[in-house]
């Protein structure tokens, strides 16, 4: 299975304020009523981007100066809550290729990496500096450098944390693990025989 090698993401950023951005906010549950992920880009942050009448609220993602951004900049514990892969699917389908945040909830991190959506963690002061730089100049290009574990924006360079396993997988192009897991099936069958099947109807 040939996948893209992801060494870096380059693009403009949109700063999303707050910590603990949960997956119910990223995609409200009613948009989970679907049997495919198609069209989920429109559901992204729907209830924050629209009022009760469906009119735009002027959410930061919709501000014209951030149009076309491919990097989302946010706070700690990003993607907490539900395991719904709809959340990173929605981000990816809305054009985001990387999320730079102070930290990530684990299930979200795994789901995002499996889609090739880069998650890079930066220190709180680095997030503040990046946010200020982007607010001052929304046309600023961010470079999320997976290889060097850095985020660069103009003259600003900050360290980013990406776990070894995710970095390797992105750089080498096997961020979707299915191909490699399938290669291990003969060993899996041996483990299955050794462990037996716990839940079997009498």
């Amino acid at each position: 299975m040939e996948l893209r090698q992801i060494r870096e993401v380059r693009g403009r950023a949109v700063p999303l304020p707050g910590d603990d951005i949960d997956t119910d906010r990223i995609v409200p549950a009613r948009y989970l009523k679907c049997v495919t992920f198609d069209g989920l880009g429109d559901a992204l942050f729907y209830d924050e981007r629209h009022d009760a009448q469906g009119e735009p609220t002027g959410h930061v993602i919709d501000e014209p100066r951030y149009a076309g951004a491919s990097v989302l900049l946010s706070g700690s514990n990003f993607g907490c809550g539900s395991s719904r892969e709809h959340a990173p699917q929605s981000l990816a389908r809305a054009g985001f290729e990387a999320v730079v945040a102070e930290s990530f909830a684990e299930i979200f991190f795994g789901n995002a990496t499996t889609l090739g959506l880069v998650c890079a963690a930066v220190a709180p002061e680095a997030r503040r500096a990046l946010t200020e730089a982007v607010r001052a100049d929304p046309t600023l290009e961010l470079v999320v450098d997976v290889d060097a574990r850095q985020v660069r924006a103009g003259s600003l360079t900050v360290d980013a944390s990406i776990p070894d396993s995710a970095r390797e997988a992105l750089l080498e192009g096997y961020w979707d693990p299915l191909g490699e897991l399938l290669e291990g099936v003969p060993q899996v069958e041996a483990v299955s025989r050794r462990l037996g099947r716990p839940a079997a109807a009498a």
Binding site: K33, S165, L181, G184
Partner: protein, 476 residues
């Protein structure tokens, strides 16, 4: 004598198939649970790649998130929901998977069905496309929520690419005071350690309070591990665990039962084993706990006041201001007395028989406030049947609760049960996120089942000990 190990380490080692190129482990999953929301895309991915389900006998399915609880007439009024249940049935039939459907008498929230059927067993690895899979850790299983691409991975290979977690032992010592329940214990833990305190950890719950808990109480605690940032949480299996499991449909019988119990005893953490962190919480320090904000860590004792922006650390002010504005709460005012519009009783956190029994003790002879819409939703068809056998449905109905069919209901509102406008809901569920209960401006206050009963009766957030005349003194 081998080095003493904790349960997580033992289960991990036993289920590690091999090391992957990026250093992660290909981990064998004994048991896979699926439902209608996070599985259809996974089956679609298998079809796209021409793959089949490797071990269909290790996957079990039910339907819970989208099912209406006020009627079981099909087709569902909601065409999208109806499409989802039909898609699930088709995938089940195509791949020969065991399905606890609406007409089976065994349907319920997936985290109720696993334990009820005895599918959830100690020392096993369990995965499900739902973050509250941590519930199954109550049995000493390593159980965690996964995304849809991972559901695909389990269907195709019965494994996942995983990194090993650290283990934090959370010791709850002593005794709980009257009117304090398992829900208060876990809300207190999350409030103390924070919603991101568990990142990178599995939580092992122990200590006298946890040892004395029933399996249903342990499930309540483990259920909300994920709300504290821990992907899984578990309790070491003991006689309470084995007594619950004996005789259930998918549990071995006869000589195989004795072998299973011996194996389960051996998987418990060894005395003197290593933990990456240990936290001790005194049971006596835990009060009836309620949330005031927008995540389960924004919680206080029922006797405390809602925080103020000024009184908070600089880094928290923004979040507190946002939460106060959304919740429409006055900073510095008591949480007690906050007007309640809806009482929701149910969910995989608190939709079990013992929850209904405990609340019914106090609802007997009382009436829900005319200002409150109250719904009681058993977590499974078995819970419903058992409650009805005990006559609890009559108590709830006489008090003014609607008595519903099993499902996730208003915990996440992917079904007709939703808040309207800025209604405030006293809820036994697990998440108070903005919009979680179906209205973008809806408000959720999480609490124990008995506290929801008290809120329903008084029409405001109340101290159940006062409403129901429970002494606060610890029983000797």
């Amino acid at each position: 004598m081998t080095e003493p190990r904790n349960l997580y380490q033992k289960v991990w080692r036993e289920h590690a198939v091999r090391t992957l190129r990026n250093g992660q482990t290909q981990l064998f999953i004994d048991t896979h649970l699926i439902h209608e929301v996070t599985s259809p895309q996974a089956f679609g991915m298998l079809r796209d790649r021409g793959l089949s389900v490797l071990m269909p006998e290790r996957t079990f399915a039910t339907v819970d998130h989208i099912v209406p609880t006020h009627t079981r007439i099909e087709p569902f009024e909601d065409a999208l929901a109806d499409e989802m249940i039909r898609e699930l049935r088709k995938n089940i039939a195509d791949h020969g998977i065991r399905f606890f459907d609406l007409d089976s008498g065994d349907q319920g929230i997936v985290h109720m069905v696993g334990p009820e059927q005895g599918i959830t067993q100690p020392g096993t690895t369990i995965a499900c496309g739902d973050s509250h899979t941590s519930t199954h850790g109550a049995f000493g299983a390593i159980a965690f929520g996964i995304g849809t691409s991972q559901v695909r991975d389990v269907l195709a290979t019965q494994t996942l690419a995983m990194s090993e977690l650290r283990v934090r032992r959370i010791e709850v010592t002593g005794r709980l005071r009257p009117g304090v329940y398992a829900k208060d214990v876990i809300l207190h833990i999350i409030r103390t350690l924070g919603v991101k305190g568990g990142l990178g950890y599995a939580y092992e719950y122990g200590g006298d309070v946890v040892t004395r808990m029933s399996m249903e109480e342990r499930m309540t605690v483990c259920n909300m591990s994920i709300e504290g940032g821990a992907r899984c949480g578990y309790v070491n299996p003991d006689d309470t665990t084995f007594a619950y499991l004996q005789g259930r449909p998918f549990v071995p019988g006869g000589a195989a039962w004795d072998e299973a119990v011996a194996r389960w005893r051996a998987v418990a953490s060894d005395p003197g084993c290593h933990y990456d962190d240990v936290v001790t919480i005194r049971g006596e320090d835990i009060a009836p706990t309620v949330t005031w904000g927008l995540n389960p860590g924004q919680a206080i004792s029922i006797e405390q006041d809602v925080p103020t922006v000024e009184g908070a650390a600089a880094g928290e002010r923004e979040a507190i201001a946002e939460a106060l504005a959304h919740m429409k709460l006055a900073p510095g005012a008591p949480i007690k007395g906050t007007k309640v519009d809806v009482a929701f009783f149910g969910s995989c956190t608190n939709g079990r028989v013992s929850d209904f029994i405990e609340a019914a003790r106090y609802l007997e002879g009382r009436r829900v406030s005319p200002a409150v819409t109250a719904i009681a939703v058993p977590g499974s068809q078995h819970v419903k049947a058992e409650c009805e056998r005990l006559g609890l449905d009559r108590v709830f109905k006489a008090a003014g609760f609607e008595w519903r069919d099993a499902g996730c209901s208003m915990c996440l509102a992917m079904n007709p049960d939703k808040l309207v406008g800025d209604q405030l809901c006293a809820s036994t569920s697990n998440r108070n996120f903005k919009g979680r209960q179906g209205s973008p401006t809806g408000r959720t206050v999480l609490m124990s089942p008995v506290m929801v009963a008290a809120a329903a009766v008084t029409g405001e957030v109340s101290d159940a000990r006062e409403v129901f005349g429970v002494s606060r003194e610890a029983v000797a």
